[in-house]
């Protein structure tokens, strides 16, 4: 096992990696941007080093600084978490040059899991269906040419994109150039040297299905129950269900075999997830992610496997500690990602201070978060602040449990996806499984989701509150109420006394 591991990330995944490394007996060292100092991961690490912020750019992407620190601290391995540098080939090479291991999946030489067109082609040659698409293109001209054979609408993707970054839907040729510049610019900020994109047929009416896979250096492979991550916005997941209630058993076993084959051919060592789009008939391979995804919490609750701990073990050369048959389960887990976003304004981020955060409770309801009352949701990072999960025997029961869990989840201070998710759990099309990746992407559907939960009584109550707010204005009585409500400290009393004196 490693003796020193450097964790290079922030938020929940940082805290979770610190935990996993410490459980394995490693010394867990981490880094933080100045604003992130007061976080669980920093507090529980054996050492924490402040990253020096540069005038531009995100500190967690500062390869130079991080590699230098890793070398100075003589760590054995770096855990990149997800996002940021987790798939960055340059980062991996620079660490390897110093004899430091990056904890992410390795594979057969000459292939790069982060290079999606390359892996698409690899899968295609093995006979796994892929979407119509292009190879990597480096200019507007070559894109225009490739687009003709792919056909519109299509999706332009940064070759090494991740987490929904660097993806644009393109309806017609006229949009190609602007989108290309957009994707390139975003890639530069998040991925470096990523001037290359590729095209894929846009497939709006499909479900997103992914298989987590672990493979050790001896070739032992475990394919986990698949996750259905169809509910998304901006190509980022909002709901994860596992196993997928919508995948026919026959297709599931076909896909599992394909995944096993692909892992063996690629000689993967580590944890990855293999992703497909499923249109109700056929499933098309789209990519392999070489890092541990946020949805892994759902798989961990379903299977009881500590996936992060296992991932670090695999990277250190340990054999897998369990078999695929150990993962059999008659349970179903649903996970809802809570994001600090205004769903009414097209999921625009809503950073701020959480003035109250009460997590849900109860048998079969489990939450992961590192954001609590008085914490600040920062601007520049992922707006996901919690993962709420329920474990039940059926999807139907899980939907009911998730309703009561979300009803009890209470967040003040920032707008969140909670109200939309609450309403979604009661939306007939979602309940019966009649939806695809576009479910939440248009405002008209979101309005229908809310309309479905409106009641005549609540409608009248809205009217009452509107009228009452006007009446309170008139009486100005609310000024006194406010004083009472907020009089929590002597300081307020003193200030208040001062106010009246100065009159």
């Amino acid at each position: 096992m490693f003796s020193k591991v450097l964790i290079v990330n922030r938020g929940l995944i940082q805290a979770n990696c610190v935990r996993a490394a410490r459980e394995l007996g490693c010394q867990a060292i981490t880094v933080y941007a100045p604003n992130d100092k007061n976080s669980s991961g920093v507090r529980n690490a054996d050492e924490a080093w402040e990253l020096e912020p540069k005038s531009s750019g995100i500190p967690y992407l500062d390869i130079e600084q991080i590699v230098d620190l890793a070398a100075k601290l003589k760590v054995d391995a770096v855990h990149p978490g997800y996002g940021f540098l987790s798939q960055n080939a340059d980062f991996k090479n620079r660490l390897n040059e110093k004899g430091i291991k990056l904890i992410s999946a390795d594979n057969i030489e000459g292939y790069d899991l982060a290079n999606k067109p390359q892996i698409r082609e690899f899968a295609r040659k093995m006979g796994i269906p892929i979407l119509p698409g292009s190879e990597t293109c480096g200019s507007v001209e070559s894109l225009a040419e490739a687009a003709k054979s792919v056909g519109y609408p299509l999706v332009m993707k940064a070759t090494e994109g991740y987490g929904g970054i660097g993806i644009r839907v393109i309806e017609r040729e006229g949009e190609l150039e602007a989108s290309y510049h957009n994707v390139i610019a975003q890639s530069e900020r998040f991925m470096f040297n990523a001037h290359q994109v590729y095209l894929e047929r846009f497939f709006p009416r499909a479900r997103h299905i992914e298989f987590p896979v672990a493979r050790d250096k001896h070739g032992n492979t475990v394919v986990f129950p698949e996750r259905d991550c169809t509910v998304q916005r901006r190509f980022q997941k909002l709901i994860t269900e596992s196993p997928s209630p919508f995948l026919p058993d026959s297709l599931r076993s076909k896909l599992k075999s394909a995944v096993h084959m692909l892992m063996d051919q690629l000689q993967v060592v580590g944890f990855v997830s293999v992703e497909f789009l499923y249109d109700g008939n056929q499933a098309y391979f789209i990519e392999v992610n070489s890092y541990m995804q946020p949805s892994h919490g759902v798989s961990a609750l379903l299977t009881g496997v500590d996936m992060l701990r296992e991932q670090i073990g695999l990277a250190a050369g340990n054999p897998l500690s369990f078999r695929e048959s150990d993962l059999e389960s008659d349970k179903f887990v649903m996970g809802v990602f809570v994001s600090a976003e205004d769903t009414e304004r097209n999921f625009v981020p809503s950073p701020g201070v959480i003035t109250r955060m009460h997590l849900p409770y109860g048998d079969g309801v489990y939450s992961l978060t590192n954001v609590f009352t008085n914490d600040t949701v920062a601007t520049f990072y992922d707006p996901i602040i919690a993962l709420v999960m329920v474990r039940e025997r059926t999807r139907e029961k899980a939907l009911i449990k998730m309703q009561s869990a979300l009803d009890a989840l209470h967040i003040d201070g920032v707008k969140t996806s909670v109200p939309l998710m609450r309403a979604l759990m009661r939306f007939p099309e979602f309940k019966r499984g009649d939806f695809d990746c576009q479910l939440l992407t248009n405002k008209e559907t979101r309005d229908r989701i809310f309309e479905n939960v409106r009641t005549p009584t609540d409608s009248e109550i809205a009217g009452i509150l509107a009228a009452l707010s006007l009446q309170r204005d008139a009486s100005k009585q609310h000024i006194l109420e406010q004083a009472r409500t907020h009089s929590r400290s002597n300081i307020w009393d003193m200030a208040s006394e001062w106010f009246s004196r100065s009159k």
Binding site: F380, P419, Q482
Partner: protein, 171 residues
Amino acid sequence: MKYQVKQGDHRYSIDIDGKYDYSHASPVLVDKKAYEVLIDETDANGDMRTVMINRKVYRVSITRGAEGFPEEVVLKGVPYRVEIDKIESTRYRPDASKKEIPGRVEAAMPGQIVHLLIQEGQAVEKGQVVLIQEAMKMENEILAPKSGKLRTIHVKPKDLVMKGDLLFEVE
């Protein structure tokens, strides 16, 4: 006071006693049907935050329009449009909210400016994208609020802006 309320096609009247008791659960009449209403908690601005109605707790927030009249009431996260048509038996009118300066555009959220698409002095059309601001990995197109000449741009690419910072002005 009596309020005439319109919600879609539904019209009804709400009656709140002039001496309404805010400190206890007190009745409000909707077309003669009584609801017991108690304001439990208000926020730092004195606005209602938690209300108990017929013994059930609601988290609420109320958005007002330019005239100071409530336009949207959010109940447990679900938005309801509300139009107050008429207020009877009072001469009270709410204060108009701060007059907006059309043409001035401020940052609606903190973030980083990533692109300027139009230069100072150029003409813009209402709804045209002037610049792109990024926050939490999402790019937000900031549009011209009206047609005219782009008089000044107060930011440049890579600038960090706070909520309320002036971005640009259209003449």
